[in-house]
Amino acid sequence: MAADRAAGPGRDGAPADATRLGAPTLDIDAILADSGVRIVVCCGSGGVGKTTAAAALGLRAAEVHGRRTVVLTIDPARRLAQSLGLTELDNTPRQVKGVNTSSGGELHAMMLDMKRTFDEVVLTHTDAARAEEIFANPFYQAMSSTFSGTQEYMAMEKLGQLRARDEWDIIVVDTPPSRSALDFLDAPQRLSRFLDGRMLRLLLAPARAGGRSMFNLVSASLGVFSRAVQKVLGGQLLADLSGFVAALDSTFGGFRERSERTYKVLQAPETAFLVLASPEPDAVREASYFAGRLARDRMPLQGLILNRTHRVAADELTAEDALTAAKELDERGLHPAAADALRIHAALCHQVEREAAVATRFTTAHPRVPMVSIAAQPADVHDVDGLREIGVALAGSAPFIAERRQTETD
C-alpha cells in the first residue's frame, strides 16, 4: 500500500521510534531524577496504556531515583490493581510490595474514589448537619456519581490534596479514561463555571429571597421560562434542585478559585506532562491536539510516549520477498511452518510501516517534542517485574532496543 510507505526520514522496516521519525529522544530518567519535578501527569485518550505507564514511571522514580513516590490511578485493570496491592477503592495511598527500596525510595499507590472525594470536599467546607442534607439530596447523588466532569475534577482535587500534604517527592497521575485527552484540563473549569453560572444564580435568587417560590422574581420572559420548567420537570424536582443549589452555594463559595489554583500548579515547572498514544490514527490525533493545547496554555509538555509499537526482528527480509517465498512454498507444498513464519513476518513489516506513517503525523506537527517508543508486549503486564521492564524501556535502555540500535549503526 503506497500510503503505508510514506514514513519519516529513517529507513523502511525500522520501528516507529525517535530515530526513524527524526524526533528528539525523550529522557525519562532526567525528568524522574529532577527534584524540581513534583508532579508527572500521564495524558492521552482511553485505551493507550496510561495506567500501566503511570505505574511504571512511579516504580522507576522510587527504585532508580530513590524518590518517595505516589501513583494516583483512576481506573486500573483488575489484575494490575491487584499487583499494586489496590484491592479496594478506599482513596488512601498504600505502599506497594515487591519494590526495591535500597535506593531510599518508596512506591505508594491509590485508586481514586470519585464519590468519596466529592463527599470529603463537602465535609471540609460545611458542618456535619448541612453535609448530611447535601448527601441526601438526589441531585447531589446524581452529580457526585455521574456528572461528566466530576471524575476529572475529583482527580485534580485529589492531586491538590496530595500535593498539599507535602509527604511525597513526586506524584504520578494517571488521568481519567475520557473520550478526549483534553477533558482532564477542561472539566474542572467547566464544572466550576457551571457551579457559579447564570442558571444557578437564577435558580438561587428566589431561594435567597426566602424560598417561597422559585420564580417569584422573574420577568415576563422568565414567566414563560418558569412555566416551561415547571411543566417539564415538575414541582418536586424543582424543590430538590433549589435545595441542592442553595446548599452548594454555601459550600462551594471558592469552587472556581480552587480549580484555578490547581490549574496554576499544572502550569508551573514542577509539573511534567507526558502524553501517551498508541500508534493508531485516533490516539495519535488526540495526542497531537493535546500537545497543541498544552503549548497554547504554556504548560510544560515533556514528551510523547508512543506505546505498543512493533518491531521487526528479521529486518533484512522485505515483506514482498517474504510473501513471494511463502507463496512459492505453498505452491510446491513444502515447509508449511516456514511459509507461515514468512507470512507472520510480512504482516509485521506492514504493521511497522503503518505505525511509522501514523506516528509521523505527530512528529510533523510537533517536531520538537521528544519521544520514546515502547515495544508491544506479547502478553499484558500484571506485576511489578513487568512494570520494571516497561520502566527500563521508557528510559530507552531496554537491552532489546540497545541491541537494535547497535545493529542499525553497523
Binding site: 420537570l233 418536586q236 490516539a283 507461515d340 507472520i344
Partner: protein, 323 residues
Amino acid sequence: MVADVPGYLMSVDDRWPARLNIVTGKGGTGKTTVAGALAIALAGAGRRTLVVEVEGRQGIAPLFNIGSLPYAERRVATTPAGGEVHALAVDAEEALLEYLDMFYKLGLAGRALQRFGAIDFATTIAPGMRDVLLTGKVKEATSRRRDGRRVYDAVILDAPPTGRIGRFLNVTAETARLAKVGPIKTQSEGVAAILRSPMTAVHIVTLLEEMPVQETADAAAELAGLGIPIGRIIINETRPKLLDGQRATAAEIKRGLAAAGVRAGKATVAGLVGEAKDYLVRQDVEASLRADLADLGKPMIELPFLPGGVDRGALNTLADVLR
C-alpha cells in the same frame, strides 16, 4: 459460534432478530465501525435501516464519506443488496426541544429555555435526563410508522462505551431518583419497557485484548442484572490463524528459505524464529481471552482485521461477514 442451528441455514432475520440493535464496546474497539457495518448488513433488498449516534462525535459521517450529520435523518448509502441506510446524530438539546414541541406546543418557550441555558443546565446536572432524551428519540424512530408500515426495519444505535452503557440504558432508575412524577418519568418508563423487550438486543464489540474483554464481561453482567437483553459478542480485528500452534524451528525456516531460493543469514533466520515465537505467545493469550468470552454464553461473531483501514469497501466486507 454458540448457535444451535448452523449459520448457513439461518437468515439474516434469524441471526439478528432484534429491531433495535444497540452496539457498545470499550473505546477503541471499533464499535462505530461495527454499527455502520451492521446497518449495511441489515439493509437487505427493499429494507431500510437507521444508524444513530448520540455522543456528538460525528463518527458515522466519515464511514459513509459524508460531511457532518445534522439532527435530521438522511439517507447515507444504498447497499449492494438493494436496501437503504439512513443516519442520524441525536443532540440532547434538539431532542428536548422537539419533545417539548410535540407534547406541549411550546416552541417559543422552548427557545427561551435554550437561551437561558436551562437545557444545558438540566442535562448537565442530571445526566440521566440527557440519556432519557437520547434514548427517547431512538425509541421514537424504532417504533415510528408511516402508511401502516414501519419506517425502519432495523435501528442500530452507536451507543456509549461499556463503562457507561448500563447507566445510559437504565433510564428509569436514573430519572426515578430525580423525577418522581411528571412527563420525564412517563417518558423514561416508555423507553425502559422497549429496552427490556425482545425487540432490543445489545451487542458488545471487543478486541482480543485484556481490558476490552474484561469490560465486555463487566457490561454483560451489568446488563443481565438490569434485565436488558444481550445479543452477540462481536470480536473485532481478528487476524488469520497461522502456524496452527506449531513452532517454527530455525531448522524448518532455514530449509524453507532454501527451498524458496531466499538467501538469508543467521540473523534473519533467528529473527523469523523470534517473530514466530512472539506470534504464538500472542495466539495463546488470544485463545484464553476467546475462552473467557465464550464463558459468557452468548453467540459470538468474529470480524477480520482490515490492514488498509476502514473505507466503504471495507465496511461492505464487514457487513458481508455480519450478514
